[in-house]
Amino acid sequence: MTTPATAPELAEPGTAARAGGARYVLGKVGGAVVSLFVVVVLGFFLFRVLPGDPIRLMSRNTSVGTKQVAELRHQFGLDKPLPAQFADYVVALAHGDLGVSLKFSRPVSDLILQALWPTLLLVGVATLISILLGLWQGTRAGWRRGTGFDRFSTGTALALWSAPTFWLGMIFLVVLGSWFPTQGIVDPDTPAGFLPQFLDVLHHLTLPCLTLVAVLYAQYLLVMRSSVVEEMDADYLTTARAKGLRDDVVRSRHAVPNALLPTVTLIFINLGFVVGGAVSVEAVYSWPGLGLLLYQSIADHDGPLLQGLLLVLAGAVLVMNLIGDLLLRVIDPRVRAA
């Protein structure tokens, strides 16, 4: 996934480095802006140029007369030439207008904003737990490579990673469904007030979160493990041991901080994968987030909603990656030098 870094050279502190820094930041921001624009273009053309005509797409399961089709085409501005359509689309987008959902007859942007928080909650909690679990097990497995713990934890993680996310969710539902709510985010008859509401959401969150963690943590474990293994033979660890430091201290103070760097990159590169996992999990548990919305928009052939979701999800991942790139430069001096 990541190409091995070329020989790192340490940065010379001074004005040259600072100028390089500005160029680096500008380059990354510029790249992200171009990528965002490409997403916008992609979102536009995918729904208009490819064989599946939007009107045909939304009327796939119903019989629509030619007159109605013509009316619909006019209503959605599809009878105009493509460049004019694109201009309309970009202007509307700049005003935060993503069109109106065919199924819900509500603005797409409202639907997305409404579904944003459940997804952030689910993905945030699951990612945090996966990272902590993956890093902890990965560090231990790598430090004691070849032991029973290493084989067991790596094997379990790989087995869970190999299973389709939605299937794992279905199995959890069958096995644990009697103890946990099987769908939604909160029961309608839960009393108002912070604590009962909070506990009920937590209760509903357990199974979706468990499923997402099971699929996600393997990647962090594997990268942390191989990263720790890379560091094992490093001279500075021999020095640390020669100073008479305890094994635990050598690991946690010396090896882990260096081994963490590749993982930080991974956290951000993997966000696309996390989004994919969230879509499956939300669809299985009817968690009212962006993933469930995507699932519904596919089932209902809701073109505008699907297009809006593609834009928002891809845009969010691109922005997070930009943040990751900039963050990595702050914490890793070797990137600053390159």
Binding site: M1, T3, P4, G31, V34, S35, V38, V39, L46, F47, L50, P51, G52, L57, L158, A159, S162, A163, P164, T165, F166, W167, L168, M170, I171, L173, V174, G177, V229, I269, L271, G272, F273, V275, G276, V279, S280, A283, V284, L294, Y295, I298, A299, H301, L306, L309, L310, L313, A314, V317, L318, N321
Partner: protein
């Protein structure tokens, strides 16, 4: 004939590779499992009667647990789950292999072109690759299969179109490593053209590692296919393992606790993915000298 010598040398190298691969227990185990599954998939029309797949010819009761001549129970229409599983393997494996082939084709071409020509070609292609690398591939694949005409071909295209960047980056870094070697410079000096350098030197050196990477892609493609089917984007006429799970969920196998209907397709996907991964890791250990020394 120089080419005869070259071929003999390559055959010898392949033989050495096989010997090293055989010494990797995990890889050999994965390969045996894969061979069995592929064989079963290929022989499905011979060892079973496809008429049992027809809903109108189904003989069993609806959603019956294992027993009564049905080793893995029946689905909602009374068809044998074992039979569906066997025939589903054909579709799942076909999609996995075809999508991988397409994905590796795109990735290899883009990767070699990037590294070989460099300059602005590389700058532009690298941007495109990075762009597709970070995009949420499942969302993009789902959108692609929605707008394309439904069918297996569209699913294969959707998977390949979102999975190629990893291969492209791998091929690029390998090509760069190969092209910095002196024998490439010697080849240029002797008057070799782009075709010669790429075809005779870069490709043979890069392809083995691409092959090792590919094994992982097949597993991933099978998982993506099953997820697309679960989202309702599968081809109802060719029931893959994912399509089976989709149907199971639709008819309420979860609330009925029909484990015999839910477990087999998912386990089959997991076993195939794990087996491919074991093969891939063993191949990588054989091909990457840095890993071998450890």
């Amino acid at each position: 004939m120089t080419s005869a010598i070259v071929w003999r040398r390559r055959r010898a190298a392949a033989g050495r590779l096989w010997d090293q691969f055989r010494s990797q227990r995990g890889g050999l185990f994965g390969l045996v499992i894969l061979a069995v599954i592929v064989l079963l998939a290929l022989l499905a029309p011979v060892i079973t009667d496809p008429s049992g797949l027809d809903v109108t010819h189904a003989t069993g009761g609806a959603l019956k647990p294992p027993g009564d001549g049905f080793l893995l129970g029946t689905d909602e229409t009374g068809r044998s789950v074992l039979l569906l599983l066997l025939w589903g393997s054909r579709v799942s494996l076909l999609v996995g292999f075809a999508a991988t082939l397409l994905c590796v084709g795109i990735g290899t071409i883009v990767g070699i072109v990037m590294a070989h020509f460099g300059g602005w070609v590389q700058a532009v292609l690298m941007r495109v690759t990075d762009f597709f690398l970070v995009l949420p591939s499942l969302v993009l694949a789902a959108v692609l299969s929605t707008v394309l005409t439904p069918g297996i071909g569209s699913i294969i295209i959707a998977i390949a179109a979102t999975a190629w960047p990893t291969t492209a980056r791998l091929v690029r870094s390998q090509t760069l490593a190969v092209e910095s070697r002196p024998y490439i410079e010697r080849s240029w000096a002797l008057g070799a053209g782009h075709w010669h350098v790429i075809g005779k030197h870069v490709l043979p050196a890069v392809l083995p590692l691409v092959f090792a990477n590919t094994t992982l892609t097949v597993g991933q493609s099978i998982i993506t296919e099953s997820t697309l089917a679960f989202l309702g984007l599968g081809d109802p006429n060719s029931a893959s393992w994912g399509e089976m799970l989709h149907n199971a969920l639709q008819v309420g196998a979860v609330t009925a606790r029909a484990w015999w209907y839910l477990l087999p397709p998912g386990l089959a996907i997991g076993v195939v993915v794990l087996a491919f991964m074991m093969c891939g890791r063993a191949l990588e250990a054989v091909l990457n000298p840095r890993l071998r020394e450890r």
